[in-house]
């Protein structure tokens, strides 16, 4: 099969790889119909995630058609169209049974931090991802959801990650009616978070970024107020957020939807580049600094081990609640599917680029450089 493969930092290549096979009775093999490049794939692409091996295929956002079915699978048959959550979850362990599928104990032998994830380095189990013509999907009775017959792949593609991730970010902020929510990052997850904050009753949603074209989308697609932090001087966005909120207290909820490759702080960037910390935690730092006392801070942007520089003393003294997670995608699927059906969220509205799988290396270059007003790239394999 053809697959996009990692060759080293900032280098991807389309290569021939052996077809995936059924390796466990509860596996299926899918023929991929749509696959997206996630912002967090860029952390892999830039060589920031430990144990990212040359030859790995990325991709944890994909839909497909069931091609081959393991002997133990009961819910799916050949020909079913499915979307697949990025977490690989057994459905029965201590964590899955409590709804914490991102913490599954039975899919990642590499460490006890996180469940297996498709195409996200060997740190999350060493599974190939969906940026290929075919992909192996373990625990097929648990994760995958059949795509309703009246819906197109692109209507539901982002249920695999960014929409539930954004929704869970807003949810972890424990938003109460009328509260002010600031979202750092106008990338795909930031946009989904802003949209979800409205559904959860926010009174004001503010999105912070440095790219005007993305802030335009935050206004038009997510109805958010926007701030370009480069217009407010060095770290001035923190004071500005306090100045524009009630009582100059700061937002009630602050959400980091950027993760470890944030711009805006020379110190953070330098410490990240010199490997003294795992990337730049600028967005999380600003979230802690700008939120009101007693407020809620959410880290949903991706960070890797081992540590990052954040103002913990400020968080402690302000009495903040900090929550962080990989999304437990499975438990959000029916609920968010209803929001899509009702037209409350149109996830495909953020797709800026559709390319053939063979053009994957270009797609990575465009997305990483944020060229051509790129917000979200979707790859379409030939057989789709």
């Amino acid at each position: 099969m053809k697959a996009l493969t990692y060759r080293g930092p900032s280098t991807m290549k389309v290569a021939e790889k052996p077809d995936p096979r059924i390796e466990h009775p509860n596996d299926v093999v899918l023929r991929v119909t749509r696959t997206a490049i996630c912002g967090s794939d860029l952390h892999l692409y830039h060589g920031l995630v430990p144990d990212t091996r040359v030859g790995t295929t990325f991709g944890h956002e994909f839909t497909g058609v069931v091609e081959e079915v393991g002997p133990g699978v009961q819910s799916l048959v050949r020909g079913d169209r499915v979307l697949v959550p990025f977490n690989i979850s057994c459905g029965t362990c201590f964590f899955c049974s409590r709804g914490l599928t991102s913490c599954c104990d039975n899919s990642n032998p590499a460490n006890d931090m996180v469940a297996g994830v498709f195409g996200y380095s060997h740190t999350t189990g060493g599974y190939d991802g969906g940026q290929a013509e075919l992909v192996r999907v373990p625990y097929a009775d648990v994760g995958p959801m059949k795509i309703p017959a009246d819906m197109h792949e692109e209507d539901v593609l982002f249920l695999t990650d960014i929409l539930p991730t954004g929704y869970q970010a807003a949810e972890m902020g424990d938003i109460k009616e009328g509260e002010t929510v600031v979202v750092f990052g106008a990338g795909p997850v930031g946009l989904m978070t802003a949209k979800s904050a409205w559904l959860q009753g926010a009174g004001r949603v503010i999105v912070v970024d440095e790219l005007d074209y993305r802030l335009d989308l935050a206004r038009s697609w997510a109805n958010a107020e926007t701030i370009n932090f480069t217009e407010h001087g060095k770290h001035g966005v923190v004071q500005y957020l306090k100045d524009i909120t009630d009582g100059r207290r700061g937002p009630d909820v602050a959400i980091d939807a950027v993760g470890c490759e944030a711009s805006g702080s020379f110190l953070q960037k330098a410490l990240g580049l010199s490997m003294l910390q795992a990337g730049a935690a600028t967005a999380l730092m600003w979230a802690i600094q700008s939120v009101r006392r007693g407020g809620n801070v959410v880290a949903i942007g991706v960070y890797g081990p081992p540590w990052n520089l954040v103002p913990l003393g400020e968080a402690m003294n302000k009495g903040l609640t900090i929550r962080a997670a990989q999304c437990n995608v499975k438990r959000y699927l029916p609920h968010l599917l209803e929001h899509i059906r009702a037209g409350r969220i149109d996830p495909k509205g953020i797709i800026s680029h559709r390319l053939a799988l063979e053009d994957g290396p270009d797609a990575y270059r465009i997305f990483a450089a944020k060229r051509d007003n790129c917000t979200k790239c979707v790859l379409v394999p030939k057989a789709a």
Binding site: R7, E23, H24, P25, G47, P50, D51, T52, R53, G55, T56, G72, V73, S75, S89, C90, G91, F94, C96, S97, G99, L100, N106, S107, N108, P109, A110, D112, M113, G116, H122, T123, G125, G126, Y127, D128, Y139, D141, G143, E171, M172, E177, G178, W198, L199, Q200, G201, A202, G203, R204, V205, N223, E225, T226, P305, P306, N328, H339, A342, R344
Partner: protein
């Protein structure tokens, strides 16, 4: 900077109540999620895990792609013997990643160029010998 009136936004507040939010409470009363046809998944017998923390049992399913190889593989094997809470593990894995890139891009290129140089030298030598 436009300020939006919430009530003009389609769906505003539909999930305002905590009980309408699928992730609340964070931890559910234990019960299987999805439709698993087992109480506990059976172990995978095909292939071998390509990343295995020696402090953890092998999980019932695991990835088998891109096995460890070369010097980078030796470093990764050593790294997975270090507990994940020690930064040393992650530093070793990052170093192995850089060596992996050299092994699979620069070494093959150097080998190819070296082979070509030997071939050209051989051809030149053979042609001169004929004269």
């Amino acid at each position: 900077m436009a300020i939006y009136a919430p009530n003009s936004i389609l769906g505003w507040g539909v999930d305002l109540r905590q009980e309408d939010r699928p992730g609340v409470p964070q931890e559910l009363t234990p019960k299987p999620i999805g439709n698993p046809p087992y109480a506990h998944p059976e172990p995978q017998h095909n292939g071998r895990p390509t990343a295995l923390d020696v402090q953890r049992p092998v999980t019932p399913t695991y990835g088998t792609v891109v096995p460890m190889r070369g010097l980078s593989g030796l470093i990764r094997t050593a790294a997975y013997k270090v507990p994940s809470y020690l930064p040393r593990r992650w530093m070793m894995l990052m170093m192995a990643d850089r060596i992996d890139v050299i092994e699979h891009n620069i070494v093959p290129l150097a080998t190819l160029l070296g082979g070509a140089a030997v071939a050209v030298t051989g051809i030149v030598f053979a042609m001169r010998s004929r004269r």
